[in-house]
Symmetry: C2
Amino acid sequence: MSVEAIFKALGDPVRLEIITRLSDGSSYTIGKLSEDLGVSRQGARKQIQTLASADIIQLHPAGRETRVSLNTESLQQARLFISQLEQQWDQRLLALKQLSED
Amino acid sequence: MSVEAIFKALGDPVRLEIITRLSDGSSYTIGKLSEDLGVSRQGARKQIQTLASADIIQLHPAGRETRVSLNTESLQQARLFISQLEQQWDQRLLALKQLSED
DNA sequence: TCGTCATGCAACCTTTTGGTTGCATTTTGT
DNA sequence: ACAAAATGCAACCAAAAGGTTGCATGACGA
């Protein structure tokens, strides 16, 4: 999945809350995850679907419920993208500094 | 600025291209940045404004042109947010592993 | 001074997004 | 077997987002 899709998926309060909960170590079903989000169950479901489409979470249907897990590989991808930007920027600053020191 | 706003701002192809260009070390004006983005100048201007509102870039008016610079602090904030999520997740996995080894 | 260059502002349009409600379906416990 | 639980699917709606065009404005160079 593209970093763009990942960033886009992270840019929403409900979805951000969902993945924050997911990272806390507990095991969640779709229903449990949907509680107290300030939106209806179906509203939450849509956001969960969005996260799954961006491959940030994975859905594991099991009987009548569906368990949800975090996919840290996608998060890592996004983090590395930012790291690279920062690194390029820092190298630029370094180059400028060296020029001024000549 | 909130990480949510930062992620939201990163979740768009035009804006992602803009900050990628900015990180490359060259100096850009709004006009230069707006070239070859596949959208009109005013379209690009809107996205630049969005990035500035999320505090990912900074605009420095100088005479008839405006120079644009990257604000790596915002990027760092976003990166650290992801890092924390990953870390919490990893600690959970570690705890589970230790349980199974008892 | 005067054209032109870099930019800003505003109205407008279309598509996407976030959210809702209502109903159908499958599983599970008693 | 049957009621309740967990979820899925679809239609619908309002607001936000991404984009456009047209025009106004201030700064610079010849």
